[in-house]
């Protein structure tokens, strides 16, 4: 090949790079590994990563069963190793599946249009807020304190340089948004209100009332949904103007936090301000049905600095997992699945109530609940961990006002015996071993730093 090009050595190809910058040594990375060594390496890491533990964690990342056909199908090279479907004639597989995804997300959320996906629920929420601000021309944003704390942090990052002031609005004793406080928080400058339902505590919000208050003041309502399985049995927030969802719980592995699948859904009249890729139906020269990427004039590769967002790559393969999951469970299965989550959680909350206080009992919840204890949540979790159980998420770091509280989650995969086992360990309180103290002190310092911020 070198001869064909008329060169003597490979180094000639790199002649355009000034000699003083060329790397004249090996990169300091480990030597080449054989495939068997790579597999061994990751199996080893897997063993150091919670393999075989029973977990009660949710908080924006949910453990649901993933039907095996999801991985069989997404592993097909034609899906796995294709690019963004710009060349429609040889991308109809990806395009039709995205069209089906958009359609099912509409059915599930009660909205009229949905995009092809966003990075995740947190960035989808931030982008949905920016969209609402563009639509209303009013720049300030009211954010529920019961929105996932990390989603709030992401929104704060995005908002900083957009000139979008954020106001946080609190929750009441039932865990739902405090409606009086909400009403006072919305001003003539408020472009939108961002809430989550089921919210971070698993409590289902009174979306209709929130929407009424919000709309009466001329603002838009953006609803974030982090637990999409809830939509099998919980009425979708149809009164919202924009829905920003994390679809991870529909067939996407927990994967230590990613990749997940965000998606934005809204009303037809707002579609031209929606960020992200969109697939539309059309016809070819012979009148046959086909699908294309459409409304690209919103996007960065056409509009450059005037685009609705800089988003380019989305989460197509993860959206395909979600698509297959929704197809497997379908109209009846999604309801039955959600119902099992509801039943497990009702049972778990009942059992935990025997040894701790269940907060926010006054409102409906889906598959999460907050348990307040006299003992420190982290101390409880350390005890559970010895029995290979991962307890609920300690909330002190995010909500110090709730005292010793933790957010517990149970799904269809949580067995009754696991719940009984965890509850049994909850009230047991052995003397703290001396060796645990340094770790606790470090945690206390971290918490103090968090609270200070």
């Amino acid at each position: 090949m070198l001869k064909a090009i008329g060169l003597r050595s490979v180094d000639d190809l790199f002649a355009p790079i000034p000699a003083e910058y060329r790397l004249n040594r090996d990169l300091k990375v480990p030597r080449q590994l054989a495939e068997s060594e790579i597999v061994d390496f990751f199996r080893e890491r897997s063993r150091e990563n919670g393999e075989g533990y029973t977990s009660f964690l949710g908080a924006g990342a949910y453990a649901h069963y993933r039907p095996v056909i999801i991985d069989s199908l997404i592993s097909r090279g034609e899906f796995l190793t294709a690019y963004t479907p710009y060349q429609a004639e040889i991308s109809q597989g990806t395009l039709q599946s995205i069209f089906e995804f958009q359609s099912m997300i509409c059915e599930l959320t009660g909205m009229e249009v949905a995009n092809a996906s966003m990075y995740d629920g947190s960035t989808a929420a931030a982008e949905a807020v920016m969209m609402a601000v563009r639509l209303t021309g009013r720049r300030s944003v009211v954010v529920a304190r019961s929105l996932h704390p990390e989603y709030r942090e992401v929104l704060a990052t995005y908002a900083t340089h957009q000139g979008m002031p954020l106001t946080v609005t609190g929750f009441g004793d039932d865990g739902r948004l405090n409606l009086e406080e909400l009403e006072m928080s919305i001003t003539a400058e408020t472009g939108c209100v961002l809430i989550q339902s089921p919210n971070f505590f698993g409590t289902i919000e009174d979306v209709a009332s929130i929407a009424e208050i919000t709309h009466n003041k001329g603002a838009m309502l953006v609803v974030s949904i982090a637990e999409a399985v809830s939509l099998g049995i919980v009425e979708p927030p149809r009164e919202a103007d924009v829905i920003a969802m994390e679809a991870q719980s529909l067939g996407v592995p927990l994967g230590f936090g990613g990749p997940y699948c965000g998606v934005i859904a809204t009303r037809e009249k707002f579609v031209r301000q929606m960020p992200g890729r969109l697939v539309g139906q059309t016809v070819d020269k012979q009148g046959r049905r086909g699908f294309v990427l459409t409304l690209a004039t919103r996007e960065q590769h056409i509009r450059r600095e005037k685009a609705t967002s800089n988003i380019c790559t989305n989460q197509a393969l993860v959206a395909l997992m979600v698509n297959i999951f929704m197809t497997v469970y379908g109209k009846v299965g999604l309801r039955e699945l959600a119902k099992q989550n509801l039943a497990k959680t009702a049972y778990a909350a009942g059992e935990f109530a025997k040894h701790g206080k269940i907060l926010f009992g006054g409102a409906p919840r889906f598959n999460e609940f907050v348990v307040q204890t006299s003992e420190d949540s982290k101390a409880i979790n350390r005890r559970l961990l010895e029995h290979r159980i991962v307890g609920g998420l300690p909330l002190k770091k995010f909500y110090p006002e709730l005292g010793n509280a933790a957010l517990w989650c149970s799904t269809e995969l949580t067995t009754r015996s696991a719940i009984d086992g965890a509850v049994g360990l909850l009230h047991e309180r052995p003397a703290q071993a001396a060796k645990e103290r340094p770790a606790q002190e470090k945690e206390k310092k971290e918490e103090a730093a968090e609270v200070a911020r």
């Binding site: 090009i5 190809l13 910058y21 790397l23 090996d26 080449q32 590994l33 390496f41 990751f42 924006g60 453990a63 199908l73 090279g77 034609e78 796995l80 190793t81 294709a82 690019y83 004639e89 597989g93 039709q96 599946s97 958009q102 059915e107 996906s117 947190s122 942090e153 992401v154 990052t157 340089h161 919980v234 592995p253 230590f256 936090g257 990613g258 990749p259 539309g280 016809v283 046959r288 294309v292 459409t294 590769h301 509009r303 450059r304 600095e305 685009a307 988003i311 380019c312 989460q315 393969l317 959206a319 297959i324 197809t327 379908g330 109209k331 299965g333 509801l342 409906p364 961990l385 991962v390």
Partner: protein, 496 residues
């Protein structure tokens, strides 16, 4: 058409409607275990919040689902079928061991909030990948949090802004060459910087005199792709960095084309202050039909205080942990820690290559692009004769005389069994054909590609209409994009 049969031939493929059109009541592909806790009264638990109906969600059987998606899959072109020479997209082979290790139990199912003490495996993966990417780029620190290239750009510019702000002046604008990706200006806007375009010189490189003239204390950074989108290495890169640094500006490198540099030259050594990588380009994680990507951002020491939270740290006892207490951080750009599954794959890729393999990958990628350039030079117009790195940009100047444009040639390439190259980009080349073969292609596959391109050029001379009407062999012919945009149909609706 004379070479058509060498690469591809026609084959029957299955028709398949939308999944909704196969649905009928009573069909199911799911089964739940018996409930081991008491049944609940949903009305009592949920009241008005209970959903009564799931509308038109489908009801189908498992074999129907398998056939549905398998049939759809056969309508796609993919790297697994052949060369996918999309310039600037780096469509290289996606090793299957990466997929296998990403599905190992503890790696696939680790919860992001599980205690750090039982997350050491995941944290070790984050640490190793971070260290190796820092070594590969020659930078000082890295954040893995951004979910894609454009997200990395945003993160990088947030850090640039925070850096300038810490010096008392956030500055006003970003310089962007006219050859840049569209994400660059869109990102600058998201971080509230004005965009100022920078002209290229006759070699297709940054015009130093123009840069000198446009550089002042209002400029926060220059966003530069290197090699640039013409596949040309910016030879004056250090002078560019010097001009920026002299006025307090920073050099941002879009790492989209890093596949031309790994193991041969390091951006950190030629003056770059901040850059993003695309793990789904250079580091072989699959594109998946448009994601998931991953866009780590590597930085020099001066930007380290501003990286997104949390930051991975090593405890005195050697265990790994996240540090959330970073007062100068730009904040979070994503929930949790980034697209972890992509980190696993990228690390496996680096392991499978080692230092020798990484170097050779780059050499092969550049060699392949030059082989294609040599093979097609003369047949297609080469607007810039500057040496080519990993991709080569031709123009349709010769074929345009017959009324055939780059998109037509691209569509005809489909009939020859190839995915088209990137069309009409970069914007500085009218009618661009941007070809990036990557290291994955054998000389046999590239010869077929060169033959196909030459055959199309002949067709343009002899029978341009065949090219203008292409593709001829696909399930659907060219689709009406104007109608799609004018009256958008973005979802299926039940027929009432």
């Amino acid at each position: 058409m004379k070479h058509l049969t060498r690469k591809a031939s026609l084959q029957v493929n299955q028709n398949e409607g939308l999944i909704f059109e196969k649905s009928s009541p009573g069909k199911a592909a799911w089964k739940l275990p018996p409930l081991d806790v008491p049944e609940v009264d949903t009305v009592k638990l949920l009241g008005a919040s209970e959903r009564k109906d799931l509308g038109s969600m489908p009801e189908v059987s498992e074999i129907e689902i398998i056939r549905h998606f398998t049939r759809l899959s056969t309508w796609n072109y993919a790297i697994d079928l052949g060369m996918y020479p999309l310039g600037s997209c780096t469509m290289k082979y996606n090793p299957r061991v990466n997929e296998a290790v990403a599905r190992v139990e503890g790696i696939a199912n680790g919860h992001p909030y599980q205690p750090e003490i039982i997350s050491q495996g995941a944290l070790r993966i984050l640490k190793m990948l971070s260290e190796q990417l820092i070594e590969i780029t020659g930078m000082d620190a890295i954040t893995l949090q951004p979910a894609a290239g454009a997200h990395g750009e945003m993160t990088g510019l947030l850090m640039v802004r925070a850096f300038h702000q810490s010096k008392g002046n956030a500055r006003k604008k970003i310089l962007i060459p006219d050859s840049a990706h569209g994400t660059n200006p869109a990102t600058a806007a998201m971080v509230n910087y004005a965009v100022e375009n920078l002209k290229s010189d006759p070699r297709g490189m940054v015009d130093l005199a123009a840069l000198e003239a446009q550089m002042n204390e209002d400029v926060a950074a220059l966003m530069l792709t290197n090699p640039n989108t013409l596949g040309v290495f910016e030879q004056d890169i250090h002078k560019i960095a010097d001009i920026l640094h002299a006025k307090g500006g920073l050099l941002y490198m879009d790492g989209a084309n890093m596949n031309a540099l790994v193991g041969k030259v390091r951006p950190g050594d030629f003056g770059v202050d901040v850059m993003h990588l695309n793990l789904h380009k250079t580091f072989s994680t699959p594109h998946g039909g448009g994601g998931p990507g991953s866009g780590p951002v590597a930085i020099k020491k001066i930007l380290e205080p501003f990286v997104p939270t949390p930051v991975l740290v090593t405890n005195p006892d050697g265990t790994l942990a996240f540090d959330y207490n970073r007062p100068q951080s730009v904040g979070r750009v994503r929930a949790f820690y980034g697209n972890f599954g992509m980190f696993v794959r990228a690390l496996a890729y680096i392991q499978a290559n080692g230092p020798d393999g990484l170097r050779q990958t780059t050499e092969d990628a550049v060699l392949n692009a030059n082989y294609i350039r040599k093979g097609l030079e003369g047949t297609y117009d080469l607007p810039y004769s500057t040496p080519t790195m990993h991709e080569v940009v031709f123009s349709d100047k010769l074929q345009a005389k017959k009324g055939v444009r780059t998109m037509d040639i691209a569509k005809r390439l489909i009939d020859y069994g190839f995915h088209p190259y990137t069309t009409a980009f970069p914007l500085i080349v009218p009618g661009a054909l941007m070809i990036e073969p990557t290291e994955s292609e054998s000389v046999e596959e590239m010869d077929l590609f060169i033959e196909a391109m030459k055959s199309i050029a002949e067709e343009v001379e002899e029978d341009p209409q065949t090219v203008l009407d292409a593709p001829h062999s696909t399930r659907v012919s060219r689709l009406d994009e104007t109608a799609a945009a004018r009256k958008p149909v973005l979802r299926w609706k039940p027929v009432v």
